[in-house]
């Protein structure tokens, strides 16, 4: 048995190393000089430098700061809107009497199954007729539309787990509806709410399709800006491109390491639905 588990650990170390190598390779490339990058393969930078990062952010008067700002703003606002909308709706579907709630839940379930990629054309048309193409508001509304359905279901099942007896007891103690919501439901539904927020942040920060189609030239995100560099600019050095990769993955990786449990829950149930 002991011998067996030693083998397992060895295999894990091999596999784990393979899995980290692409990330390591990008990072190490981003800290090398052009001369070294194009002069052969070295496992460690001979002359460690941040020059590629500086070059990335100095491009076109700091346009990448602009892209980064757009991505951060979009992510923060989307997360807040998604959380608010889905906590309210999830609570209502779980605990309140609502006209046509079966119909609405059916609609939400249907929305989950239609990916945004299949509605790019009419959405472009809708946004353009509302004057929202290439605006922060337009993009947030699209993110919210396609993220809330799953989040509403997630919140509904979180609230479903709060027993009604708790509410009755609080009502008997003289608590009003607002107090009940704030002191009884919200704390118990918090894990669900965090899962929803993590799911939303992940999807917004990592999005490419929505930003590409509806952001136009005025609301480019970091991902869109990075792909522009890769596909349009052939003079750009791989040092700069890899530094772009590293900048893009660091925020979400830190976020993941902090909220790992919620990430796994949100992503898994988000895919299985």
């Amino acid at each position: 048995m002991k011998k067996n588990s030693r083998w397992i650990i060895c295999l894990n170390i091999i596999m784990g190393t393979i899995w980290l190598l692409p990330l390591y390779w990008s990072f190490v490339t981003s800290t090398k000089t052009d001369q070294e990058i194009y002069g052969g393969i070295t496992l460690f930078p001979q002359k460690f430098t941040w020059a590629n990062y500086i070059e990335l952010f100095q491009r076109k008067d700091g346009i990448f700061f602009e892209y980064l700002k757009n991505s951060i703003t979009l992510t923060l606002v989307t997360v807040l809107v998604v959380a608010t909308v889905s906590v309210l709706a999830g609570f209502a579907f779980s605990k309140l009497e609502i006209m046509g709630s079966k119909l609405w839940l059916g609609l939400i379930l249907f929305t989950i199954m239609v990916p945004v990629q299949a509605l790019m054309v009419p959405l472009h048309n809708t946004l353009s007729s509302l004057g929202l193409l290439g605006t922060l508001a337009g993009m947030i509304l699209i993110y919210v539309t396609f993220q809330t359905p799953f989040c509403v279901y997630m919140m509904k099942s979180s609230f479903d787990m709060v027993p009604n007896a708790l509410r009755e007891a609080a009502t008997l103690d003289g608590a009003g509806p607002m107090a009940i919501f704030k002191h009884i439901y919200l704390p118990l539904a918090m894990p669900g709410a965090i899962t929803v927020m993590v799911y939303s942040a992940y999807n917004t920060w990592n999005d490419y399709v929505i930003a590409l189609t509806f952001g136009g030239n005025t609301m480019k995100t970091f991902n869109v800006g990075l792909v522009d560099l890769i596909t349009n600019d052939f003079s750009i050095s791989w040092g700069v491109l890899t530094s772009g990769s590293i900048v893009g993955l660091i925020p979400i990786t830190i976020f993941f390491l902090i909220f790992q449990k919620y990430f796994v829950k949100g992503l898994m149930s988000g895919a299985i639905k």
Binding site: P22, W25, A89, V121, T126, T148, L249, I252, M268
Partner: protein, 296 residues
């Protein structure tokens, strides 16, 4: 008295609707209406400027006669059918590797899951550098161990770039399937194994007679999820192969995007989107079937 009560009830019900009002307004404006509009637009010759002419099903007929669209469907199908088993096999091995209790097993689970949380654009970029023809580390390694004598142009030929992109996706997504399988492994009752052990079953027998049959629904589910994801493939090819050479690696979503937003044939793009939706509906039906009936 009764009347007062019922009108009070109505007010309460109306105020309840306020809780779901934001959701409904957004959903109807940006989902229901666009969804119906997709069907409507697909029946028109809808360009960016000029009159929209009703042309019935012409867009659909044209789509099925358009070799480029057909090719994009075939290519997407090939990609989905290649990447799904590749990813599954690697994920299965991973799940077996981390389905143990030893110190630090959590670190390995995190490492395998890490690429899942990194954006597709970043992952594609990372691997594009590895696959670089002149300076890429992969050609360097393969040449040094003598597997190849001259550098391979990984992204310049569809028969090479398709598996190369699949390797990237396997690296990115196996952690996801691994966690699904791991959860299924751990849901199996330990006593079942104990009983089998008493009956004299060896490890191989236990695996094929107990583990596999119990986790079969999870296997099915993970495969369907991977198929649906692959049918929507876009960024990885836009970034890594740019759809080339001569559109040979253009996926369906990629082609719809170009038709709609590069050539501005909105009606035509909408018709092809509806065809894509039908394909997805069929796959979702299978997903439901796999999830609903574990004995299937």
């Amino acid at each position: 008295m009764k009347k007062v009560l019922s009108s009070k009830q109505t007010i309460k019900r109306l105020s309840n609707v306020l809780f779901i009002a934001p959701l409904l307004v957004i959903n109807i404006t940006f989902f229901v209406i666009p969804f119906l509009k997709a069907i409507y637009m697909s029946l028109f010759d809808w360009k960016i400027l000029g009159d929209k002419a009703f042309i019935g099903l012409t867009n659909y007929i044209q789509a099925f006669q358009n070799q480029k669209f057909i090719n994009s469907l075939i290519f997407t199908g090939k990609y989905a059918l290649l990447v799904t088993p590749m990813l599954f096999i690697v994920a299965f091995i991973m799940a077996l590797l981390v389905n143990h209790t030893f110190k630090g097993v959590g670190i390995f689970r995190t490492i395998y899951f890490l690429p899942v949380i990194i954006s597709m654009t970043t992952c594609a970029n990372i691997w594009l550098w590895i696959y670089n023809e002149l300076y890429g580390v992969l050609n360097y390694i393969l040449m040094n161990i003598g597997l190849i004598s001259k550098p391979i142009a990984w992204m310049k030929d569809a028969s090479i770039s398709l598996p190369a992109v699949c390797v990237m996706i396997t690296w990115k997504m196996s952690g996801f399937t691994m966690l699904m399988l791991l959860a299924a492994f751990q849901a199996i009752d330990e006593q079942t194994y104990e009983a089998a052990k008493i009956d004299g079953a060896n490890a191989v027998q236990k695996f094929f007679r107990i583990t596999l049959p119990i986790i079969r629904p999870t296997i099915g589910l993970s495969m369907v999820i991977s198929l649906i994801g692959s049918v929507l493939a876009f960024e990885q090819f836009r970034i890594m192969t740019k759809g080339g050479p001569s559109s040979s690696t253009q996926t369906t979503v990629f082609y719809i995007y170009e038709t709609s937003f590069k050539n501005f044939k909105f009606g035509y793009g909408a018709a092809m989107s509806i065809i894509l939706l039908v394909i997805l509906a069929v796959l979702s039906y299978f997903q439901f079937k796999v999830m609903k009936d574990p004995s299937e």
